[in-house]
């Protein structure tokens, strides 16, 4: 792999090399795992389901359950109606979820399965629900799958009773369970009653109890999803992931939304807290003020080691935007900023951010791949690489300090339990970044420059 990447960059139109994205269904599966007593269901060949469960298991180090329609040759010719009917019956009989969340695959989309009518015609057991969303693998990326599944739940389940429940809806976007816990902690500290949707905390970071439960205590409940229509305000974190779900909730139930960046770093966490404050009209408690102060203090203390360093950042759009903002706050130059997800909105947002900090000469690209990023780095090296596990080949080949963040992280532990969002998450990131940079400085230091105090 290491020799393959030449310096000479040539435009590729047909060949994707070392992708920085995957397909929609895995996003739908992850979103559905954030709903309580829900069985995600993959309507396609069983390999899809198996791959998605595997990648989720590898990232979270947790069991990830999902069922499959197990398409056969016959289904691909005559359609998957009988497969989904059998599957739904079997899943309720055997695994007894409250709800099955069906997502499609490239195959069931291409043969034109009409899930709406299949589901309408189903004879479901009392009190059980089936919802679906369309996740054609050849559109967008796994991020689309995530928000499409959110919208699937919302289309089927949300209601408006006419009476407000006095709550805010919070959409955390595609983050780890540790992030969701932090987002909740801040909301509670700000006195905001909320409905978190989806909510994988307690599901994909479940404790060891000696028992294996298909359905844990975690996840957004079905009544909570229904009640999204009665909330007074939506706070949606992750502008790219949540634009469509936010629009849907507004159009459907007139819930106004604040569409905010993923709260990574000082400024974006401030924005989240201000939105919460607007809702609860409460003073920011000392607890949060103190943490903010600690973070700023840390950025100041460590800035001699971060200032002017160049970073390459890659991953999913919202997390990359957040990480770019944090880097700029630490005076790190985001030399290359890419996502594999084909959303031009990403490029606009990152460029706007770069302009705010007068950062010049940076390359920003959506719909990019890691081979391309590697080539750029070969031509103009960076001091730091931030992104998913798939960056480790580049980091090793080019000998660059590497900080893992985003999805998937397949080769490290504990990352999904801890936040990168909020002031706490930013403190954690600054620790990881400075350790990576300073470990490198130590490693490369001549004996006479090797210092105990830094």
């Amino acid at each position: 792999m290491l020799d393959l990447t030449g310096k000479e960059v040539k435009e590729r139109r047909a060949l994707r090399v070392n992708p920085c994205k995957t397909c929609q269904p895995v996003g739908a599966m992850y979103a559905a795992l954030g709903v309580k007593r829900c069985m995600p269901h993959s309507h396609g060949s069983q390999g899809c389901c198996s791959y998605h469960r595997t990648v989720l298991s590898r990232h979270f180090k947790e069991p990830a359950i999902a069922s499959s329609s197990s398409f056969t040759e016959g289904a691909s010719v005559f359609g998957g109606r009988s497969n989904i009917n059998t599957a739904v019956k079997n899943v309720f009989d055997m695994y007894d979820p409250d709800i099955i969340a069906v997502h499609t695959t490239c195959l069931s989309e291409t043969i034109g399965d009409d899930l709406i009518s299949y589901i309408m015609d189903m004879d479901l057991p009392e009190g059980k629900t089936v919802v679906h969303c369309n996740t054609p693998s050849y559109v967008g990326s796994h991020i689309n799958g995530f928000f499409n599944m959110m919208m699937g739940f919302m289309n089927y389940l949300t209601k408006k009773t006419g009476t407000s429940n006095g709550k805010a809806a919070i959409f955390p976007g595609w983050v780890n369970p540790g992030d969701i816990r932090e987002i909740k902690r801040i909301a509670i500290a700000m006195g905001v009653p909320y409905i978190m949707f989806p909510d994988q905390s307690g599901v994909l970071d479940a404790p060891m109890t000696g028992k294996y439960e298909y359905y844990t205590n975690g996840g957004t409940t079905l009544p909570e999803i229904a009640a999204l229509g009665d909330t007074d305000q939506l706070i949606a974190l992750g502008e790219i992931t949540n634009i469509e779900p936010a629009e849907l909730l507004q159009k459907k139930w007139k819930v106004p939304y604040a569409l905010l960046p993923m709260p990574v770093g000082v400024a974006y966490t401030d924005v989240y807290i201000m939105a919460l404050q607007k809702f609860s009209k409460q003073e920011v408690p000392y607890e949060l003020e103190e943490q903010r102060g600690q973070l700023v203090d840390l950025l100041l203390d460590s800035h001699p080691y971060t200032s002017g360093k160049k970073a390459a950042i890659f991953g999913d759009p919202d997390v990359v935007i957040g990480l770019t903002s944090l880097c700029l706050e630490a005076d790190i130059i985001p030399q290359y900023v890419i996502t594999g997800t084909p959303k031009e909105e990403f490029t606009r947002k990152v460029n706007a951010l770069l302009t705010q900090y007068n950062a010049e000469g940076c390359t920003v690209k959506a719909n990019a791949d890691l081979f391309e990023l590697h080539q750029w780095i070969k031509n103009e090296p960076v001091d730091l690489l931030i992104g998913s596990t798939y960056g480790k080949q580049i980091a090793k080949a080019e000998d660059i300090p590497f900080v893992r963040a985003g999805f998937p992280v397949l080769d490290r532990y504990a990352g999904t339990l801890l936040p990168i969002v909020g002031y706490t998450g930013a403190i954690r990131l600054v620790e990881k970044i400075t350790e990576a940079l300073m470990d490198r400085q130590d490693r490369d230091a001549a004996d006479e420059d090797f210092e105990i105090v830094m």
Partner: protein
């Protein structure tokens, strides 16, 4: 312990215990089951992937390329090209207007830019390629003519069968590469089939044969390459380690190239020794046979003390096995027997009827035998039978841990060689580390309080 019995009616034929009447296997999964199985593409890809200098292009939407990017620990002594991910990343317009043009362009881009220049390209056609009507065969044929290299189609839509069919497609693809070279002069030596060089296991086995005086001509597919593939027809004997994936290839090669084969397994003392001797005997050279016996005896004697050392800590424990193929399950049962560990649950994803017959002959009457098990069944039977350790793959690991059961990865993610005599020591140590980890103390609070 009371365990609720919620086994699907359709699944009952795939589970056997006590009154055995033969298991129902080699079938499609039941719709709606949380199956641990993968698909046809997955089968084809895992077999071909270790061909290190091949360019593996996935023709389809991005997912199938993403999920198989550098997933197996198949080690290479040369090229690292196979550790990259190439695909056509089909988009909506391609679905509407067809993807053949994009595939053509992708091959052109690769030929124009790739360094080192490709000599062998595999084109994997995934689920929708056939449905949208792409003529992948024609694209490959044209590309072969245009560039004078091998461009082999692997038409592996996920829905067209089980993972086993994918193995067969991979074997057919390799046969296409070999056939033009099948008339070459024979050389004394063997091909190792069905070893993927996970954690360098193939190198260990190859080393054994070389030490005994048996040259290894080619290896399929661990640490393989285009040059090694085209040499395979020269060998005098094929040995088949993972029969599930490679028995078919061995059969075809016997028929088309006149190379006989023997099935082998290098897991555990008993099977490793027996296999080395079987291979040596098959070559019909008395001197080599004698050396093989001496070699096996010497190494067994070396490993024995290790086995004896750990036995007191392991004997009496109960094991559950859930692996891909039946042949590996058989070896594992024997290996556990050597350690005084009883196998109480054994299942495979794609075991064959004759393999299940062997399994059933090796285990006790009350041992549960499962085909294509799902987590619910694994959980139920592991708890019911009081398993102390599960041997399985990535999807089973978190399940075992959640149940408070020790675990040994005997699949793609194993980090230590588990094959050969060296593997015996690693296997015993891994089993011991997990079964006797201090972490189990914290599970039962009352116990910790002491």
């Amino acid at each position: 312990m009371a365990v609720t019995t919620n086994i699907l009616e359709e699944r009952k034929g795939s589970i056997s215990a006590s009154n055995r009447k033969g298991i129902s296997c080699e079938k499609e999964s039941v719709s709606g089951a949380v199956s641990q199985r993968a698909c046809v593409y997955c089968g084809a890809r895992v077999v071909l992937n270790p061909i290190t200098d091949a360019y593996h292009i996935v023709h389809g939407p991005i997912g199938c390329a993403s999920y198989t990017w550098d997933i197996r620990g198949s080690l290479s002594s040369g090229s690292e090209i196979y550790r990259n991910s190439f695909s056509t990343d089909l988009r909506e317009t391609d679905i509407v207007f067809g993807g053949a043009k994009k595939l053509n362009a992708a091959i052109d881009e690769l030929m124009e830019k790739a360094n080192p220049a490709p000599r062998l390209i595999f084109i994997y056609a995934t689920c929708i390629v056939g449905v949208i009507g792409d003529d992948v065969d024609a694209v490959c044929r044209d590309a072969e003519q245009r560039y004078g290299i091998r461009v082999i189609p692997v038409k592996a839509p996920g829905f067209s069968g089980t993972k086993s069919l994918g193995y067969q497609m991979a074997c057919d693809a390799m046969l296409q590469v070999m056939r033009p070279h099948k008339t070459q002069e024979k050389r004394f030596g063997i091909n190792i089939l069905g070893d993927y060089n996970l954690a360098g296991e193939m190198w260990i086995i190859k080393g054994y044969f070389e030490e005994i005086g048996i040259p290894v001509i080619s290896t399929i597919t661990g640490d393989s390459s285009y040059d090694r593939l085209i040499q395979t027809p020269a060998a005098t004997l094929n040995i088949v380690q993972c029969a599930g994936s490679s028995a078919y290839l061995a059969e075809r090669m016997e028929e088309e190239m006149g190379i006989p084969y023997v099935k082998v397994s290098f897991f555990g003392m008993e099977d490793t020794s027996a296999s080395i001797i079987r291979v040596a005997d098959a070559l019909g050279d008395a001197e080599i046979s004698a050396r093989a016996r001496e070699f096996a005896a010497r190494h067994t004697a070396e490993v024995m003390p290790i086995s004896e050392k750990y036995k007191p800590r392991l004997a009496g424990k109960k094991a559950a096995i859930f692996v891909g193929g039946g042949f590996k399950a058989i070896s594992l049962i024997r290996q556990f027997n050597e350690l005084g560990i009883k196998t109480v649950v054994v299942g495979t994803q794609t075991g064959k009827r004759d393999e299940y017959a062997v399994i059933e002959s090796l285990v006790d009457a009350d041992t549960i035998v499962l085909d294509d098990a799902n987590p619910a069944e694994l959980e139920q039977f592991m708890l019911e039978k009081g398993a102390d350790i599960l041997v399985g793959g990535v999807k089973e690991r978190p399940l075992a841990y959640k149940l408070g059961i020790a675990f040994c990865d005997h699949n793609h993610e194993r980090k230590h060689p588990l094959a050969g005599f060296a593997g015996i020591e690693n296997f015993i140590k891994e089993i011991n580390l997990s079964i006797n980890s201090p972490i189990w103390r914290f599970l039962d609070r009352e116990e910790t309080a002491v």
